[in-house]
């Protein structure tokens, strides 16, 4: 049997987190839960970005492409407005998987060939795809609602509490799934790719195979986040889905939490969402974004390892002190 099931110990922090999240709806008001819902989605997007960019070092500027594509496909197919050309309106349990499939398919078609090129080149291509999709979505107004996007989309569930349970459930499912992958040798190889791709090749591993896997996982996660988010909001528009600030949110959540960690982005997603929400009453519009961007900049500048890095360093220091040296299970 697989070892990870036997090692309940390594799940203990997950259990704590799940218990806290389960108690939350009974002790906090719905307005707080709504922030948690947004944080859950941000955490999903950040984990998706982390799976690809944080692990392999291929910095993607195109994740909103995947998220937006999934959201748009599901939105267009489930939209009940009478726009031209007439088409069949499908139920959500059909459109949402199709949306996810679109994110994976569209991503495979466009992003995978781009992963042949490294470093900033890849980032530029991914950004270009984002721009192209955004332009096309605006130009194809008949299908997509153009600049204004699509509104009054069907909801999956209604009410803050229900949506909270749903988004929390998805977030944990995605998180644990990705975490298991990241802990396995796959995660190990992906990190090695970030450090020196050529050497990984000369260890007899197809880096393309591993990058592709990371990418597909990332795209599925982005797709899941995209469709659920779209049908939570009940609307989708180019300004929301393809805005730079959205891209910034995703990247900063990951960087703040700690790149290449899966746990970090969850924390980062929560931190960023609560930071922006809590400043909402204090600061007006642009001031808030300004403050937010400056905080993000400061974190990237002073702590490129993110919070995970800080916590990790402190923990390692304490343990090393106690045991007088590093042990095997601590360095991985």
């Amino acid at each position: 049997m697989v070892n990870w099931i036997t090692s309940v110990k390594s799940f203990r922090w997950w259990l704590v987190a799940i218990v806290v999240m389960m108690v939350l709806p009974f002790i906090v008001p719905p307005s707080f839960l709504r922030i948690c819902i947004m944080a859950n989605f941000m955490a999903i997007f950040a984990m998706s970005w982390d799976m690809m960019s944080g692990y392999t070092g291929y910095v993607s500027f195109g994740h909103p492409f995947l998220i937006g594509l999934a959201g748009y496909v599901s939105a267009m197919l489930s939209h009940q407005g009478g726009f031209q050309p007439p088409h069949i309106v499908l139920p959500l349990y059909v459109t949402m998987p199709l949306g996810i499939a679109a994110a994976v398919g569209g991503g495979m078609l466009f992003f995978l060939p781009s992963m042949r090129v490294r470093g900033p080149y890849f980032s530029l291509i991914s950004l270009a795809f984002l721009m192209i999709l955004s332009r096309i979505m605006i130009a194809a107004g008949a299908m997509t609602g153009g600049d204004r996007g699509l509104t009054s989309l069907p909801y999956l569930v209604t009410g803050a509490v229900n949506n909270y349970w749903l988004s929390t459930g998805i977030m944990f499912a995605v998180a644990i799934g990705l975490w298991l992958v990241a802990r396995s040798d796959v995660g190990h190889v992906l990190k090695a790719i970030r450090m020196d791709e050529d050497v990984v090749e000369s260890s007899g591993l197809s880096t393309y195979r591993f990058k592709r896997f990371a990418f597909i996982l990332s795209a599925i996660t982005a797709g899941i986040g995209g469709v659920f988010y779209t049908h939570y909001m009940g609307s989708i528009s180019p300004a929301g889905a393809f805005d730079y600030i959205f891209l910034l949110n995703i990247i900063v959540s990951t960087v703040v939490g700690g790149m290449g960690t899966i746990l970090g982005p969850i924390f980062g997603g929560y931190f960023i969402t609560f930071f922006t929400e809590s400043t909402r009453t204090l600061l007006e519009g642009a001031w808030r974004f300004m403050a937010y961007s400056l905080v993000a900049l400061a974190i990237v500048y002073f702590r490129p390892g993110g919070f995970y890095g800080i916590v990790h360093d402190i923990a390692a220091w304490f343990r090393a002190k106690r045991r007088g040296g590093l042990q095997y299970d601590q360095v991985t």
Binding site: V199, S203, L205, F213, V331
Partner: protein
């Protein structure tokens, strides 16, 4: 003896410079071949061509009778060719044991997802085998050059190869370290491994190699046992300009 690796008419140009020029040589099963030549002769380029890091402009490389031309680097490694880097390239964020473990990870997502670290004992044995026993938990920046060379060697052994190509593995090591490595190579040779050892230094290889080829300007100028090439006029001229 069976031909393991055969290089025919290999040529590679970089801009106006011909790095490897119509190079021919072969390696047989059970031997240690020295690939020698002064600095800049094209030895490392030949290695990179065999590994598939560059595409040759002309010529053919075959391994166990199979043409390597269309194969990617990792496919060549899976066939049983491994290499070390002249300047060690460890993963800077990983301790030695994790670094070595990358080389034993199966090239398959599904097999990677099943079971974690089950290959740890095997990796430990390889690490101990090259004399890194008490340094398995160290990070690269804590290691000396000699130890980093051992890591390179262990990494190549961990891919379970038939042929290992060692690039300047003795350069910059102490006499003691060289002796230890030499013993290690002999031991591995007995276990059935085949080596190509690249060095610009004729002397260092005397004790190790069965046969040597000497190249200059990317071209083969001499071939034979160490004794033969050490007294070859062309070789002397190439090395000492006399």
């Amino acid at each position: 003896m069976t031909r393991l690796l055969e290089v025919k008419g290999l040529t590679k140009r970089f801009g106006g410079v011909v790095a490897v020029n119509d190079l021919n040589f072969h390696v047989d099963d059970g031997e240690i071949l020295g690939l020698m030549g002064p600095n800049g002769a094209g030895k490392t380029t030949a290695f990179n061509l065999i590994m598939g890091d560059y595409k040759p402009d002309a010529g053919q490389i075959s391994f166990k009778g199979q043409d390597l031309g269309p194969l990617q680097t990792y496919e060549r490694v899976k066939l049983g060719i491994a290499r070390t880097y002249q300047i060690p390239r460890p993963y800077h964020d990983l301790p030695v044991i994790e670094d070595l473990r990358i080389s034993t990870v199966p090239d398959s997502i599904t097999r990677c997802l099943r079971g974690k670290k089950r290959n740890i004992e095997e990796v430990e044995q390889i690490g101990i085998g090259v004399g890194l026993k008490d340094r398995l938990m160290k990070y690269p920046h804590e290691l000396s050059l000699g130890d980093l060379r051992r890591v390179e060697l262990a990494k190549s052994i961990a891919t379970d190869p038939k042929l290992i190509m060692l690039d300047e593995i003795f350069a910059g090591l102490t006499v003691h370290e060289i002796n230890e490595l030499t013993e290690l190579l002999m031991e591995k040779k007995k276990a059935g491994l085949v080596f190509i050892v690249v060095s610009h230094d004729l002397k260092a290889l005397a004790a190790v190699i069965d046969r040597a080829v000497v190249i200059q300007f990317g071209h083969l100028i001499a071939e034979g046992t160490y004794e033969e090439i050490a007294h070859d006029k062309k070789v002397k001229k190439a090395y000492f300009g006399m």
